[in-house]
């Protein structure tokens, strides 16, 4: 793997974006299908190169060291661009380009006939490029630039159908809410920038990620500094990964096209927060207080989001809450694994990597089954023209492929042996049990709820009788079909591929190979791991809990032995609380935005602005323009005056220099 090949991973989708937006869209919009082909080609190329990167990092001790390239050097300030290629990078590259490729193929069918076809693929290419760049960056500034770019692409794609007010509002909300977290991340970067003196003496550059690692390891940065840095970085991660309390944007983001949700809001961008924590794990590791925060926020978010997922009627929103919940799971995994390592006292980069492996393994598995769940919802939505599960039902018969793949993904999500989700979830549960019983209890509760809500979706959507589909008020998604039908092969094939991955991706760590790849642990026999795990009680507990969730869902929505309405009535306060999303939207909207900000702070700002700032600015502008007009009058065209002016100038300068100087 050469460095050029690694750069190509980023440049292929970027080139696709440039060609689509600068050539195809302005000049050949008639042939916009080429935009789709080009995107698939570019991302396919990126996937091949990513797999090469995976191969190159396997068994490679530490990162593949490519020297960064100097970009701007002014005095002591040196900004460099480079690639930091280690196993974490490689695994993320494969996830991003792999899921992206599946989603692009699927989009060929889903977006067919949309007037914004070329624009869609341009944004998708740009997103993929930015996400790959974010993963590859060897430097905090570069990482932040791509971090903001993925946020921008998310904004553009959520608001893809910008003529729909809900989509436009959701895009705005996503952008603003994540911005709050990004601000923390930015502060952390600025902190690094302004304190580079502390580590510059050792020849380290505080903006380079490998140098930050070294500074942490050699103890150049104190615990207090590291704690602040960790908090800032985690704030960024909370925003992007939609963790409590910045989770409110992700469900609304479902207004975008469903493949966008699958790629950005399930598999990649929202996982960037988890990636960020993993990337800067040495910082967190050296400041255990931040790890505790990561674990607690993660665990709380996992339960909290799952409760809301249980009561939503919009299929995409259920999956969205599930995503938030699972991201919380990953954070929990990173946090407790990190704490376990920190407790043992020897914090080395190698051990830290083992902790990272636990969180990232769930990210890896989750990417496939969650993308599949989204693509399945998209397929259902494509067929029925609605996202409201109360209008679906009975689709099992007409959409067998969608049904089977969805159930596989659901079982994987619920953590049923031997599907992918089981393996990574088991690791997190095991380490949580060892480290912190309360968090373990939360995680186990989440397992129950997860199994319940996802099978609620399965029973409501695919079983029973068809309940009519779209009432016909929806914009794009209403394809105005008479009867629901299976999606075209171009959509089904990616789903099938992903469903295979949703089964087998977890096998990677059955024998511990994933942990070894990430830099720690040793392998055992595959079958020993595969069946041996069933000799432990914990997997059985988790699976029984999940089974109870599935069974309850069956009783309520499958056989209807228990009336869902009556349950809702009996637990009405709780149901309403969940259904209204704990009133967070209202809280933010009314209390923070309207009361405090709009009526309080902003009103004050506005008064200040109109009276003081505007006054000053207008005054200054008037003076400036008046001066301009005044000075212009000197420009009479009279030659003598010009000469005189020069003469006076010289005399004044000489006098000032001689007598005042």
């Amino acid at each position: 793997m050469s460095e050029a090949a690694a750069w190509l991973v980023l440049f292929l989708p970027l080139a696709s974006f440039l060609i689509i937006s600068l050539v195809i869209r302005p000049f050949f919009n008639r042939y916009s299908q080429w935009a789709g082909y080009l995107t698939i080609l570019a991302i396919g190329g990126a996937l091949v190169l990513s797999l090469m990167a995976l191969k190159a990092t396997t068994g490679h001790e530490g990162p593949i060291g490519w020297d960064p390239h100097s970009w701007i050097t002014v005095g002591s300030f040196n900004l460099r661009l480079g690639i930091y290629m280690n196993s974490l990078t490689a695994i993320m590259l494969v996830v991003v380009s792999g899921v992206s490729l599946m989603v692009q193929v699927y989009s060929q069918g889903y977006m067919k006939g949309d007037p914004g076809y070329a624009r869609y693929f341009a944004f998708m290419s740009l997103f993929t490029a930015s996400m790959l760049g974010l993963v590859l960056a060897s430097n905090v500034v570069m990482l932040y630039a791509f971090w903001e770019l993925v946020g921008l692409c998310s904004y553009l794609l959520i608001g893809f159908w910008y003529h729909r007010p809900a989509a436009a509002a959701a895009a705005k909300k996503a952008f603003i809410v994540t911005r709050l977290g990004d601000f923390g991340f930015l502060l952390a970067i600025l902190y690094l920038f302004f304190h580079q003196g502390a580590i510059a003496g050792q020849g380290l550059n505080s903006l380079e990620i490998p140098d930050i690692y070294r500074a942490v390891q050699t103890g150049l940065l104190g615990t207090a500094v590291l704690t602040w840095l960790g908090l800032g970085i985690f704030a960024g991660a909370v925003g992007k990964s939609a963790q409590f309390p910045l989770h409110v944007w992700l469900p609304d983001a479902m207004e975008g096209p469903t493949p966008v949700s699958a790629l950005i809001h399930a598999a990649t961008m929202v996982a960037a927060g988890v990636f960020l924590v993993a990337r800067f794990f040495p910082i967190f590791e050296a400041a255990p207080a931040t790890l505790r925060l990561v674990a607690v926020i993660g665990g709380a978010t996992a339960v909290f989001a799952a409760t809301m997922g249980m009561v939503m009627n919009d299929i995409k929103r259920v999956v969205a809450y599930s995503t938030i919940s699972q991201l919380g799971y990953m954070m929990l995994g990173l946090g407790v694994a990190g704490l376990a390592v920190a407790r043992e006292g020897h914090v080395t980069a190698e051990v830290a990597r083992a902790a990272v492996a636990i969180g990232i393994f769930h990210l890896f598995n989750h990417a496939f089954f969650k993308a599949l769940l989204f693509l399945g919802s998209g397929s259902v939505n494509h067929a029925t023209g609605t996202v409201d599960m109360r209008l679906m039902g009975g689709l099992r018969k007409v959409m067998p492929w969608t049904y089977i793949t969805f159930v596989i993904a659901g079982l994987s999500l619920a953590g049923v042996w031997p599907l992918a989700g089981f393996w990574s979830k088991d690791e997190i549960l095991a380490v949580a049990l060892k480290e912190q019983p309360v968090l373990f209890a939360l995680a186990l509760l989440t397992v129950f709820m997860t199994a319940f809500y996802i099978f609620r979706v399965v029973f409501l959507t695919f079983c029973g009788e068809y309940r009519g589909g779209a009432p016909g008020e929806h914009g794009h998604d209403a394809h105005a079909h008479g009867k629901p039908h299976e999606s075209p092969p171009v959509m089904v094939v990616p789903m099938v591929i992903l469903s295979v991955l949703a089964v087998i991706s977890g096998f990677w760590n059955v024998n511990g190979a994933f942990s070894v790849f990430m830099g720690e642990g040793q392998t055992k026999g595959f079958f020993e791991g595969f069946f041996g795990i069933l000799a432990h009680p914990l997997p059985w507990i988790a699976m029984i809990v999940a089974g109870l969730g599935i069974f309850l869902a069956y009783l309520m929505y499958g056989s209807k032995r228990i009336s869902a309405e009556r349950m809702g009535e009996r637990f009405k306060p709780i149901y309403t609380l969940f259904y209204r999303k704990y009133y967070f939207d209202e809280l933010y909207e009314n209390l923070f935005v309207r009361r405090s900000l709009v009526n309080g702070l902003f009103a004050g700002f506005q008064k200040f602005d109109t009276n003081v700032v505007d006054g000053a600015v207008n005054g200054l502008a008037n003076v400036t323009v008046a001066t301009g007009k005044g000075v212009r009058r000197w420009q009479t065209g009279q030659l003598q005056l010009y000469g005189l002016f020069m003469g006076i100038g010289i005399v004044v300068i000489v006098l000032v220099l001689l007598f005042a100087g």
Partner: protein, 489 residues
């Protein structure tokens, strides 16, 4: 041997004469332009050859009156590049020169020759001669249209230029009177001998320095020696205006850097004196240029004032040089970097203006209304040029300003940088007004704006150059640093 060192200049002179002779027989302006272009390319090739051969070392010739070093070569190539772009862009404009197209191209080559010498001379008399060669060619070029307005502009330029020359000569005489030397290297030694410490400033020397600043200030269009700029810019043929605003200014800065940094760098009080003088002039130039540009309605006049303001930003760099310790090269190289970026952006703007005014016969900003619909690519290029002049990413102007300002801040000129940044904000208003009119205004007619392939090529080159320098500044930065390394004492 000494003659060989000037091969780029000789070859250019030969081509200039040959163009005039050729124009007796050939009337086709394409042939004349291509022939001149060939001259520029030959000269540039030789200069690049010198650069690789010398690889950083200097070649001193003609009894230490001329030097071929990386600083001189950097500017020579800059001037040649500007000349090449200008020749390409002039093709659309040349029909207006009727019979005298050959002379036009010859004069462009000759003035370029003068500028190349300006960057290479290290002796006061030689500097003066080179400067006059440049100026006299430019006087003629300004009046080339033979319209009343152009003739008036040329006459004003000539008379005020003569005054400035006199002032410069007087200043040189004062310096000679004080030191008894005309070679820059000897002047610095003489000053050290005559005024070895900081015990007292010498009025004669200060007077001489001020007069030099005034004389060069005319070239670089610094306030209060800028009065000629608006009238001349407006009256001159548009390609010549573009040429004046970039090449002539760059040549002025080349001489300023060479003279002040070679001859007046010690003792400290001399350097601080002219450093502070340039700092104050920079503040005034930026402010006057930007403020007066605001109410302008003619785009050439507006860019004239804008070029005064840009000279102000560049003088921030010169002031940094005066105040910086001799080992610091950020200040010096930043001027070179900024000049290259500015040359591309400003030239790009003028090339776009040539194309537009050929079609509309107007230089009023109001007539650019809806140009985005009539000539989208042209408008895009003009927009990028203006964005660069404001100093916004991703254009070259951003990095250039960042570079100059960060150097200034490091050497205690924070107050000046604050003024400069405020000025940049003010300038955004008038640059952006043109952009707004182009993209959001209603087109006056649906007619497209035609332009020749040569002009398109020139505009493409400037646009790509501006983007390239803005996105990958490293190459130019290294060149600029290498070029300004020669002044390390």
């Amino acid at each position: 041997m000494d003659f060989l060192a000037l091969t780029p200049e000789w070859s250019l002179a030969a081509f200039a004469i040959a163009v005039i002779l050729l124009s007796l027989f050939v009337r086709d302006r394409l042939v004349l332009a291509l022939f001149s272009l060939a001259g520029v390319i030959v000269s540039a090739a030789v200069a690049i050859g010198f650069a690789t051969w010398l690889s950083g070392s200097a070649m001193v010739v003609f009894g230490n009156m001329l030097v071929v070093d990386s600083f001189a070569l950097f500017f020579k190539l800059l001037f040649l590049g500007i000349a090449a772009l200008l020749i390409l862009a002039s093709l659309d404009y040349a029909p207006k020169f009727a019979e005298s197209q050959g002379e036009y191209f010859a004069l462009v080559l000759l003035s370029t020759l003068g500028m190349m010498l300006m960057a290479a001379t290290t002796e006061l008399i030689a500097i003066y001669v080179a400067l006059e060669l440049t100026s006299i060619s430019l006087y003629v070029l300004v009046g080339f249209l033979k319209e009343p307005k152009a003739s008036e502009a040329a006459l004003k330029y000539l008379l005020l230029g003569a005054v400035a020359s006199a002032v410069l000569l007087f200043g040189m005489a004062m310096v000679f009177g004080f030191t008894g030397q005309t070679k820059l290297g000897d002047i610095v030694l003489a000053i050290l001998r005559l005024a070895p410490d900081n015990s007292g400033a010498s009025p004669a020397l200060i007077f001489g320095v001020v007069l030099l600043v005034a004389g060069f200030g005319f070239k670089i269009a610094s306030v209060p020696f800028q009065m000629w700029v608006p009238d001349v810019y407006e009256g001159a043929p548009t390609p010549v205006t573009g040429y004046l605003s970039v090449a002539s200014k760059a040549a002025g800065f080349a001489v300023v850097l060479r003279v002040f940094y070679s001859a007046f760098i010690v003792p400290d009080w001399v350097a601080v004196d002219w450093g502070m003088l340039f700092a104050v002039l920079a503040a005034i130039s930026m402010t006057v240029g930007n403020v007066v540009a605001l109410p302008q309605t003619n785009i050439k006049r507006m860019l004239g004032y804008s070029s005064i303001a840009q000279a102000g930003y560049l003088m921030v760099g010169v002031a940094t040089v005066g105040l910086a310790p001799a080992t610091d090269i950020v200040g010096r190289s930043s001027i070179l970097f900024f000049l290259a970026g500015y040359a591309l952006a400003n030239l790009g703007a003028f090339i776009a203006i040539i194309a537009v005014s050929n079609q509309t016969n107007s230089d009023l900003i109001a007539d650019y209304s809806g140009m985005g619909k009539r000539a989208p690519l042209l408008s895009l290029a003009l927009t990028l040029s203006l964005v660069s002049l404001i100093g916004m990413p991703p254009a070259a102007g951003f990095i250039g300003k960042f570079y100059i300002f960060s150097g200034a801040v490091q050497h205690g000129l924070l107050w000046l940088v604050i003024i400069a940044v405020i000025n940049s904000v003010v300038s955004a208003y008038y640059y952006m007004r043109v952009v707004k009119v182009m993209w959001f205004g209603e087109p006056a007619s649906a007619e497209k704006v035609p332009s020749s392939a040569a002009l398109k090529l020139a505009l493409t080159l400037t646009t790509l150059g501006v983007l390239f320098i803005g996105i990958v500044p490293g190459y130019l930065m290294r060149l600029a640093q290498a070029a300004s390394n020669i002044f390390v004492f």
